[in-house]
Amino acid sequence: MPDWTEHVRPRLSPLRLSPAREAEIVEELSQHLEDLWHELIAGGASPDEATRLALADFSEENLLARYMAPLRQAHSPSPITPGAPRARLFSDLWQDLRYAARMLRKRPGFTITAVLTLALGIGSNAAIFTVINAVLLRPLPFPHSEQLLGVYTRYLPTTGPGFRYFALSGPEFADIRRRVNAFASIAAYGFESRNLTHGNGEVERVLTMRVTSEFFDVLGIRPLRGRMFTEEEAQRGQGCLALLSHDEAENATSAIGSTIRLDDSPCQVIGVMPQGFVFRDDGVKVWTALTVNTEETTINRGSHGMVAIARLREGVSAEQADAQLHSLHGYWLEEYPDHYAKGHFAVSQPLHEVIVGDQRDGLLLLGGAVLFVLLIVCVNLTALLISNGEARRREFAVRYALGANRRRLIRQLVAEAMLLAIIGGLIGVVLANTLLAALLALYPRRLPAWQPITIDYAAMLYTCALVIVAGFVVGFVPALQATGVRMQETMRMDSHTATLSRRAVAARSVLVISQLALSVILLAGALLLIRSYQRLQQVDLGIEPDHVLTFNISIPPGRQRDAAAARRTLAAIEDRLAATPGVETAGAISNLPLASGGPPDSFVIEGRPAPPPGAPAWNARYLMATPRMFHALGIRLKRGRLLAESDVGGQPLVAVINETTARLWSGDDPIGRTIRYYPQETSPSIQIVGIVGDVRSIGASEPSPPAVYVPLAQAPRPPYEGRFMTFVVRTQGNPADIAASALAEVASIDTGLPLANLQTMSEIVSAASGQPRFTTLVMSFFAGIAFLLAALGLYGILAYGVEQRVREIGVRVALGADKREIFRLIIGNGMRLALVGAAIGVPSALALTRLMGGMLSGVTSTDPVTYIAVVGMLLISALLASYLPARRATRVDPIVALRAE
């Protein structure tokens, strides 16, 4: 009798029957043919004839398939036979994903852990990337912004302090404009707070910019309405012309041609800037003309006050421009040898870098940190998936036996990891929104971004890329691992012997070690920042910031023409403040430490030869102060006396210097000596009467600059007039409580004087360390997560190891092994891994944290305490991670373990 199935099966092949249904039909029809054959034989036919006749029941053209084609069963969806080789890529992919979803649903604990850690890793990367993209990657919002440069001078003497980027002087600005043809245009600008009188007479302190006439040309921006002032109009002595910001023009409804009052002087509005125009600070409300003083005097050439920007000529590179700027040095040396003797160059820096400034390093550090976190998350998952793969080895072997090939199995496993990554990515984006909001809220400064910082398409694209890479990386290695051994062997193994293979243990150990090493690097970075921040907090700033309220007041010439009268008004305000109930004392200073710089001024020490040309000049900050200021701010007297109420106009000119300045006398006693400012011929002698403690006025991480304090009551040297002073009010209670009465006191003297920057000194001190605090905080957060994940990874492998070896442990215990011995075995295992992790992590950390050098102060990147602490923390957490598995191991009951056999 022939094999009927051979005749039936091909006729069904055009249909998409499920394999089970097909088998049924083949069986049924074969049965039919067999019955027919037997009947024909019984009827006297020969076997061959019977076969022929039976098969003749089938028509020539395959009617069976045709009649069955409309039936539902002929269109069964492709069964999910995971790993079965197929040709269609996309339907296969879909099938892989569906199968993956089913597998993940079966293991909710694993899936939730995996998805959440991935979400954390991907989400934090998306958030930090969004900030980095907005600040560092996006071009400036000006046409051809790559052509924009900041122009500076550079002064790096072989000894003494230098300046990498220093403002230009008026004559230098003029030289560059005349002699450097690489620039299509060059302009200077400066920020200035000024009193703006509103229509209702209310006076507000607003941020303004003074700019030269080419400023907007350089940026490539035109006023929205009206026009820019011309070079002639910008000259000194011309009437004041102003451009308003879009918002200011809307609010004040100041029409073009109308007059506003700026510092109590009239100023004609000639233009309005476009909405959203921001250059460096979005608070600027008014732009007025900046006059470049090109007068060729020694003082003017040395007065570096012009911050300049330039636009490159079309087709000229920044290098060419730099070369031209550099060559200017030859000309300067020839014309002004005294001034430029020891290296004093003009240089440029891309404007984007100028604007981003020192925020770049902190952001990149955080970017690196979150990448490490993601890496640890991936390594963690890879390790988890490897043990998973081991547990599923029999499943793969069965599929392999059913015809799946290895490539398809690998794809299946990668699809599972990819699905995890996709879900993790989706949750990650939601998380990123929250993280981003938190980051922006915590960020201590204005981020130099010119668009709202939100998760945009670029961040989504980046996230997608992360998801794909993470999914692939996490899935691929475990897939290779799980499908690597000869499958048939696995089939033959019984479930008890199918434990974690030696190779998988090795692979997981390597992963756990790399996780530990990565977390060591992050932890070392975070600890270095924490220690550096602690050091900063411990630094003696030289002032006592508690219980101090500060604010500043400016009396412009438009309000009081006579500078001496303005100073008297300020003194009167100080007296009133000092007499206010709850106030201990009140003083005033021209430049408050940590809030504003103060102009460095060169002077000569009488009776000593001036420094040779090119050597650093005797130079100190020129600070005008009232006698009470020292007590109000808590600046300590070291020797001699402080400024006194009797140091007024008509009395001998006196000054108090800080300890850093005192060192200029190189060992001699400066008290009683005199100094003289430039120009020496006309400047009076000033006698040093006292030495006060240094104040870290730039920040805790910077050394105290030299400073000279002169009494406000003695007419300051030109061009200073002492119209702008910061009041320092030391209170008995909470300084914020005094704010209202301080306002009232000022108003009682002059209602038209706005108070600006009302802040407590503690706030200013806190804000000054805001950046390191932020970086330290965020870095510690991510390092903590990394460390936790690494510890969990270690725990995971140890716990799994114990679980797999329950029988072995049972045997050992049955044979009389000491439980303490077993405990030690497991703990030792964990410690060994931790030590290897530390051995790899510490040198890597030493190498990588070198990059953080610029962000550390008070500690070096090789700080031994940090590394001892990191290794200590690693070992302690390894101990904790090993403890639970070790305890589990000692509780293995040999009877139970062996009976499970």
């Binding site: 043919l33 019955d35 029941d57 089938f58 028509s59 069976l64 009649y67 069963q73």
Partner: protein, 117 residues
Amino acid sequence: MTDINTRALDRELKRGTAELLILSLLDARPRHGYELSKLIHTRSGGQLTFHIDSLYPLLYRLEERGWIKGTWVERPDERRRRFYKVTPQGRRVLAQQRKTWAAFVDAVQRITGDEHA
């Protein structure tokens, strides 16, 4: 009557008569496919033959509609066979079809009978 072209009959399967035949035969008791084809052949006096490639698609169609149901039945010393029986829904359909058929035959006979009369 002349011999009916069996392939032409196959085309009739798309219409209702073949369904009626199957349902009627299964109404009495469950039968397997080969038995059905034998019965149709013998009871029609050799006039009607269901080929294998039209009979089974028809059975499967009826089964998909829920009018009949096939089950594998194993008997000692015999290969298992698939027996079909009419479902309650199939019985309702059969009753309806029988009525329609009777009416149709009646109508046809009246016309053809008149001619012969």
